[in-house]
């Protein structure tokens, strides 16, 4: 069964190729069949592979499939090698399952779009790239998948490219992540040159042998990888692209910008956790970045008016939790949270997409309300996802995973109280904005009538994801991954739970019980200032605009005024002059040429004779 591993990334790739080539000739039904079917094949293959994987003896469950050599240059031989271990298995399972469900959902939700085939084409390419990324046994192949998902992200954010704002958002996402990608590439090159291999397993083994803990090279490499992860996962300071990325279709936001791609950084750091074990400083930086991001994103989510932006900031915030877990060395907990987050956040996005579609592309929270009775299915599934996000104790998956992270932040090998405190506050804030979202959308007075109910495909997907969101602890993959158990004391766990509960209660009080009070807080001087600050994501866009964009534009303006052109112009003029000088000899007069020829001959003979 394990031999089918190659089929997992190649099935969506095949779907992409079919759609790319025959797009114009396929009907909608055929497009949907190919687009969803290829993901279905990948899911089935993944299931078969998983069965084969579990059939392996429990010790050393690793399977490698080499599909040939890609680049062979000197010592470096990059292979198309698929590497399946517990981590890859979990990632593969999530990507194929969530990918399949979201594609199924899109088959219905995107039905009215004229770029239907193009959408599935890109989405299949994305799924294929993501699978290559998670299954790669070679860093260069991993980088291929990494860039592939970046490309698809760009293409899908700008899916409705006729709108300039969308195109701008796509460019922004691409350029900002590129900063991280460049750092990642440098990091990979550092690793290649130092270790002489690009095979992940071999590389980590050699690193552990050669580099002592805390060595500067290891720290440098880890920090560079971290920079790449930060870019892809929208963490501080490269987080600014994610809110704008919501310009794409909702399924895109669900799949790429919530469930899978933005967690590629988490995956990368988990995959390379051996390296971070050698670089404690880098690990600490990771944790700090995660903590800062989760607070920043959480507070920003609190004041957003756009439903999808709330979810986007929420995603940043949750990924921040994962980074905290990674930073304190509890990468198992990070992956656990990745799994639950993938489920409930894609559920929230999909449900939000249903709401937005039902209200005729209305994104503003304050123009919604009272949808509880009108869209009951959406309400209940959204509620399940929201409960999981807010970590409602005991019944939701999100509770267990977040609890683990908080516990790890307190008691883990590299944990600390400040980290825990940030996480706890973040949990409260999370619960608060989640509640705000739920209460504003589904409770209160109805401002608009929904125009449509989700069809069977969307409903099925929502129900499945909702069931997974509330089913709880069994999604925990740590028994598979191995790693250290974190034994936090009960009070700490209770305190974390209490923080989340407090947030929920606060939300209930503010947005359902006393909405006027919330409005008053928001309109008070301090509240308004905070709101203005937070709604723009703590002003990072403004900052970057000020630091990078404006100077760059200024430089280009300067360049346009020939400051930089000067040297080139001079070069050109020199050449012109030389040309004029040379062309003076090219008179077109045959006799002149003949004379030159004769003079040359005379000179040549003279040299030969009187040398």
């Amino acid at each position: 069964m394990l031999e089918l591993l190659w089929l997992v990334p190649l099935a969506p790739l095949g779907g992409f190729l079919i759609l790319a080539v025959a797009r114009a000739r396929l009907g909608r039904r055929a497009v949907a069949t190919v687009g969803v079917g290829s993901a279905g094949v990948a899911l089935a293959a993944a299931g078969a592979v998983a069965a084969g994987f579990f059939a392996l003896p429990a010790a050393g469950r690793v399977y490698e499939q080499n599909l040939g050599t890609w680049i062979s240059a000197g010592d470096l031989a990059a292979r198309f090698v698929l590497h399946l271990d517990a981590l890859a298995l979990v990632m593969m399972a999530v990507v194929t399952l969530v990918g399949f469900l979201i594609l199924l959902y899109s088959a219905e939700s995107m039905a009215g779009d004229e770029g239907y085939a193009r959408f599935f084409c890109y989405m299949n390419l994305f799924v294929a790239s993501m699978l290559v990324l998670v299954l790669a046994g070679d860093l260069l192949l991993l980088y291929l998948g990494w860039e592939g998902v970046g490309l698809c992200s760009y293409l899908l954010i700008g899916f409705w490219y006729r709108e300039p704002a969308n195109a701008r958002a796509a460019k922004k996402a691409f350029i900002v992540t590129r900063v991280g990608d460049a750092a990642l590439l440098v990091g990979l090159l550092v690793l290649f040159t130092q270790m002489g291999t690009s095979d992940i397993g071999g590389l980590l083994a050699r690193a552990a042998e050669r580099w002592p803990t805390g060595s500067s090279v290891a720290t440098l490499a880890a920090l560079l990888l971290l920079a790449g992860a930060v870019g892809k996962s929208a963490q501080l300071p490269l987080q600014v692209w994610l809110p704008d990325a919501m310009a794409g279709p909702t399924p895109v936001s669900a799949l790429i910008h919530a469930a899978t791609m933005v967690t590629a950084g988490v995956y990368l750091l988990s995959r390379m956790h051996g390296l971070f074990a050698l670089a404690p400083a880098a690990a600490t930086v990771t944790a700090v970045i995660g903590a800062a991001t989760l607070l920043l994103a959480g507070t920003s989510a609190l004041v957003q008016r756009d439903l999808k932006r709330v979810l986007a900031y929420s995603t940043m915030s949750q990924v921040g939790y994962m980074f905290v877990a990674l930073g304190v060395g509890a990468w198992g907990a990070a992956i656990f949270h990745f799994v639950t987050h993938a489920v409930f956040k894609s559920l929230l996005f999909l449900a939000a997409g249903a709401v937005i579609a039902a209200l005729g592309e209305e994104h503003d929270l304050f123009k919604m309300g009272g949808l509880r009775q009108r869209l009951p299915l959406v309400f209940w599934t959204f509620l399940a996802g929201a409960a999981s996000l807010a970590a409602l104790p005991l019944v939701t998956a999100g509770f267990y995973s977040k609890e683990e992270i908080l516990a790890a932040a307190w008691a883990g090998p590299a944990g600390g109280r400040w980290l825990w405190a940030a996480g706890a506050v973040g949990a409260a804030v999370t619960a608060l904005y989640t509640g705000r979202m739920v209460f504003l959308v589904f409770f209160g007075t109805a401002k608009r009538e929904p125009s449509q109910q989700p069809g069977w495909a969307m409903a099925t997907v929502l129900v499945i994801l909702a069931a997974l969101s509330v089913s709880g602890w069994w999604l925990d993959p740590r028994w598979l991954l191995g790693g250290t158990e974190i034994a936090a004391t009960l009070p700490v766990r209770l305190a974390g739970t209490a923080a989340a509960l407090a947030g929920i209660v606060l939300a209930w009080y503010f947005y359902l019980r006393r909405p006027a009070l919330a409005a008053r807080v928001a309109q008070s001087r301090a509240g308004a200032a905070l709101g203005r600050w937070w709604i723009g994501g703590w002003g990072f866009d403004w900052l970057y605009n000020f630091i990078f964009v404006r100077p760059y534009v200024w430089l280009t303006q300067l360049g346009r005024d020939e400051l930089l052109d000067g040297p080139f112009r001079t070069l050109g003029r020199t050449l012109d002059l030389a040309h004029a000088g040379m062309s003076w000899t090219v008179t077109g007069r045959v006799r002149w040429y003949a004379a030159a020829l004769a003079a040359g001959a005379i000179a040549a003979i003279a040299v030969a004779v009187w040398r």
């Binding site: 004379a595 004769a598 003079a599 001959a601 005379i602 003979i605 003279a606 004779v609």
Partner: protein, 173 residues
């Protein structure tokens, strides 16, 4: 034979000098033919009778006739002669004469300094048979290339002549 050689050489040099200085193309042409015939005489004196015959038959008898054709078709006459005297000011000769003189001086110097290597060896008649054997033996490739060159020359001349006709037709329109 020695006498033939030196007389021919003198005639050749004199005739050639006249060729490059004449104003009338037809006269120059006649001197050129004379020069070629004189060179043929030198060839004969040097023991190359076939080359001598070919010099007259092909060079003087065929190639130069093309010039005669050109002169006759162009029909320059007095007008042409006047034009020539305009173009052929004495001043025009300074540079070319200097260049040619320098070149000649160099060549003579080379010959004089390398005289030991050149001297010796009385000319022996090398007959047509030997030349033919050499031409179609070791030089067969060269002969083939020459034939290619002649073919190319023929095609090119034919093409240029055709273009001329087309121009005339266009002119009529």
């Amino acid at each position: 034979m020695q006498g033939l050689f030196y007389v021919s050489a003198a005639v050749a040099v004199l005739a050639t000098a006249l060729v490059v200085t004449r104003r009338n193309a037809a006269h120059a042409l006649l001197y050129l033919v004379l020069s070629l015939a004189a060179v043929a005489g030198m060839f004969y004196a040097l023991g190359a009778p076939l080359a001598a015959a070919l010099e007259v038959i092909v060079y003087a008898g065929a190639i130069m006739v093309l010039f005669v054709f050109a002169v006759m078709v162009l029909a320059l006459g007095r007008e042409g002669e006047r034009q020539e005297s305009q173009w052929l000011r004495p001043r025009m000769w300074l540079g070319p004469a200097a260049l040619a003189a320098v070149l000649l001086g160099e060549l003579i110097y080379v010959l004089a300094s390398g005289a030991a290597a050149v001297a010796g060896g009385t000319p022996v008649v090398v007959g047509p048979q030997e030349v033919g054997a050499a031409l179609f033996g070791p030089y067969a490739l060269g002969a083939e290339l020459s034939s290619m060159l002649l073919l190319a020359g023929m095609v090119a001349a034919y093409h240029l002549a055709r273009r001329k006709q087309m121009d005339e037709k266009e002119g009529e329109r």
